[in-house]
């Protein structure tokens, strides 16, 4: 995979956005916002266990879990969990796109998701640049979190 290619799951989401006109892109983002799953019990009410995405306009928290079971010890599978308030549907929508787009992907694939993912959704006209930067920040933090967890586990084995 080159850096300009998206994993299939994210490519499909981007295509969904690109295939509809501007006003409907916001409706689609709202659908994603509605679909953001509730936090699992271990994080619910435990913001301190999560990482805050301070670049976002609203309090947004993420947690990343790596599944090393089975054949995945070298390249674990990623699960992203995000807490975003109902009053922040745009942030929720972005979080949900990312959550669905990377769910179950190998860490190596997640680390190669292109940085310009937010602009590929075609929302630059509908949303302010600040909003789009918030999504880029979310992706950046996801990758950094994955990278740190991978580095820690390498350290453990050494």
């Amino acid at each position: 995979m080159t850096t300009s290619e998206l994993p299939a799951s994210l490519a499909e989401i981007v295509e969904d956005f690109q295939s509809v006109p501007d006003p409907q892109r916001l409706e689609l983002l709202l659908e994603f916002s509605d679909e953001l799953p509730d936090l699992p019990e271990r994080y619910d009410g435990h913001a301190e266990e999560m990482e805050q995405v301070i670049e976002c306009q609203t309090p947004l928290f993420l947690a990343v879990e790596l599944d090393r079971s089975g054949d995945h010890s070298a390249d674990p599978l990623v699960q992203l969990y995000v807490a975003a308030p109902a009053e922040a549907p745009t942030s929720r929508g972005f979080a949900s796109v990312l959550q669905q787009g990377v769910a179950g992907l190998p860490a190596s694939t997640v680390l190669e998701v292109p940085e310009d993912l937010a602009s590929r959704l075609g929302l630059a006209k509908a949303l302010t640049p600040l909003r789009l930067r918030g999504m880029s920040a979310l992706l950046g933090r996801l990758k950094r979190n994955v990278r740190e967890q991978l580095a820690e586990s390498t350290g453990d084995q050494a």
Binding site: E27, A86, A88, P89, A126, L127, L130, A137
Partner: protein, 298 residues
């Protein structure tokens, strides 16, 4: 115009007709000459549920010009208003999230275009929800109206950076956070950096963060509290002319509303270029720290 004579709860303010209660909106939203507009920071928020019958207005796509850093032109404004069922005599009620911050901004832009009957719903979206009032995702059918193309007045309620330079010696109000005022940061806590090169404030400006004008429930503070805050603490006194600014002119729209309509200052202008213009401009004077600083010799 729709009568608000039955509505006496805001009589302490200088222009009580500029505020309506949530109950007034519940009672009048179906009226023929009333249009209720929701204006939020988060453009998707309206779609998650809004006051039944309310119409969305998007400050980013409908009030700002897509190319030049300015508001939309006269034709675009008239078209936008007509498409929302607004005529020149319509009572337009604004409400929104964050203590009506963005609602005040939309109201201010309507004022630049000379729309006469504009009002804010006191307490905004949060108060409506806190009172357990009905919300819906259903977008109302709008009957298009006719709106004349009118010229925007950029001098009475709006200040340019040249106006600010010519204003030294008269009161300026900086409504940003204390950290933005001193120059410690150039953006609000929890918000991303917006690319301002220098931190600080316009020399002589008094610091009154905008949210001090609002109660916990998003409603405006009492006349007496507002008088104490602006007239006394910030030293506006009986000033003839005041200019307020923030970062891009949205938070200061809220303060503009307070000074003009609730306290009755005659000449209040909002400098919408605000810190993202001033803090990036070459050779404009800047003060840092907690003191207002001296007026520069120009």
């Amino acid at each position: 115009m729709t009568s608000t004579t039955e509505n006496t709860e805001f009589s302490e303010y200088a222009h009580p007709e500029k505020l309506v209660s949530t109950q007034w909106v519940a009672d009048h939203i179906g009226d023929e000459n009333v249009v209720v507009l929701e204006s939020n920071e988060d453009t998707l928020l309206y779609s998650t549920g809004h006051i039944p019958g309310a119409i969305k207005i998007d400050w980013h796509t409908e009030l700002n010009d897509p190319v030049t850093r300015d508001f939309v032109g006269p034709e675009a404004f008239a078209e936008m208003a007509a498409s929302k069922g607004i005529g020149p005599d319509t009572t337009v009620v604004f409400y929104g999230d964050k203590s009506n911050w963005w609602a005040a901004y939309a109201l201010w832009v309507f004022t630049l275009y000379g729309h006469r009957d504009t009002r804010l719903m006191n307490g905004g979206r949060d108060k409506w929800i806190a009172e357990g009032r009905e919300q819906t995702r259903e977008v109302p059918q709008v009957h298009r109206a006719e709106y004349p193309v009118t010229q925007r007045d950029d001098t009475t309620e709006r200040a340019s950076r040249e106006d600010v330079l010519g204003h030294f010696g008269k009161p300026l109000v900086d409504v940003r956070s204390p950290q933005e005022y001193t120059g410690e940061t150039t953006h609000m806590a929890g918000y991303p950096q917006e690319g301002t090169l220098r931190g600080g404030h316009i020399p002589t400006a008094a610091s009154v963060p905008w949210a001090k004008a609002a109660n916990e429930d998003g409603t405006f503070k009492s006349r007496a509290e507002l008088e104490a805050l602006y007239r006394d603490e910030a030293g506006l006194g009986d000033a003839d002319e005041v200019i307020a600014y923030c970062r891009i002119g949205e938070r200061s729209s809220h303060t503009w509303f307070v000074l003009k309509h609730l306290l009755g200052y005659q000449n209040v202008r909002n400098y919408d270029g605000s810190w993202t213009e001033w803090g990036n401009a070459v050779r404009l004077p800047i003060a840092v720290g907690e003191e207002p600083g001296e007026a520069p010799a120009l």
